[in-house]
């Protein structure tokens, strides 16, 4: 079983990914992002994506009702269905699902973050949260009948309300349920770079231990990403590859070890 995680940037070669996957003889499912197309839709609808920064310096998308609407139009709307269409045209019998369909991805609403507003410190709550578990039966039902799940946000919270969530965390709850042996994460870079701005500073392989050490040196978003990657290995993944999603054969490249392999 392979979990394919597709970044949501414009430069990801989705067609190349699907054509590669069509030749794969292993079972797989796709988890995709769509932040680029979502931002464009939100902009044009006059409700641009808003980012808020917490008092402890973290910035994240403010997911109010309009933001969830844009996610439903961008992620589970156009991106999900164009990927499903591409799959069908390449002989992959895809079924597109958001996390709220059949309560596929169940999570818990965030309790609120602290933001500064003039002199005051305020609690800011929105429609976002962390994924906790997966409706494994639904996934297995579809996989066993030859369907390929193509999954995206929104997910559902403890009160069945649609909420935003982070794909890095979602791939972890998927892994907990499916215990896939390989996870391919396709991004808009050659892989994990020692120095963000130098595409030649690619790290070819990294062990979970080394990852832990690097995790301790960084803060914020990068720290969370590394923690999420490490958890994949803890949850039984034999190989996690972060590879370039912009090339002609992104999947073949990743399976051949191009990019950063975490073992």
């Amino acid at each position: 079983m392979i979990i394919v995680k597709l970044g949501g940037g414009r430069e990801i070669n989705v067609e190349g990914v699907i054509k590669d996957l069509a030749e794969l003889d292993q079972k797989f499912l796709i988890l995709h992002g769509a932040n680029a197309v979502r931002d464009e839709i939100a902009e044009k609808l006059g409700k641009p994506t808003r980012v808020v920064t917490s008092v402890s310096g973290y910035s994240s998308v403010f997911s109010d009702k309009d933001a969830i609407d844009a996610i439903m139009m961008g992620y589970s709307g156009i991106k999900n269905k164009r990927i499903v269409e591409l799959c069908q045209r390449n002989g992959i019998n895809a079924v597109g699902l958001s996390g709220i369909d059949g309560k596929l991805i169940q999570g818990e609403r965030n309790k609120g973050i602290r933001v500064r507003k003039g002199e005051k410190v305020m609690i800011l709550r929105d429609y976002s949260g962390k994924p906790k578990r997966v409706n494994k039966e639904l996934l297995q039902l579809l996989l066993d009948h030859g369907y390929v799940p193509v999954i995206c946000i929104p997910i559902t919270d403890e009160n069945n309300v649609a909420i935003n969530s982070e794909n890095d965390d979602i791939v972890n709850v998927l892994q907990e349920a499916l215990r896939a042996d390989t996870i391919l994460s396709l991004i808009e870079a050659p892989g994990y770079l020692e120095n963000r701005d130098d595409e030649n500073s690619l790290i070819q392989t990294i062990t979970a231990g080394e990852l832990k050490a690097r995790e301790d040196q960084v803060e914020g978003r990068m720290k969370r990403k590394m923690l999420a990657l490490r958890k994949l290995i803890d949850n039984g993944a034999k190989t996690v590859v972060i590879s370039d999603g912009r090339v002609e054969h992104p999947i073949k490249g990743a399976l051949a070890g191009k990019g950063t392999t975490i073992k």
Partner: protein, 54 residues
Amino acid sequence: MPECPVCGGTVDLKGDTVEGELIACAECGSELEVTGVNPFTLAEAPKEEEDWGE
């Protein structure tokens, strides 16, 4: 003035206090959230979370 939900002491709120504002209880120092105005209502502030993810 409302009572602190943690220690029961009276919490002195300024006039410009708004809903969703965080204040510290002068007596026990707990972090409280203003959950309502007219009348003021208070609750213990949720545990610190750095960010929401995306």
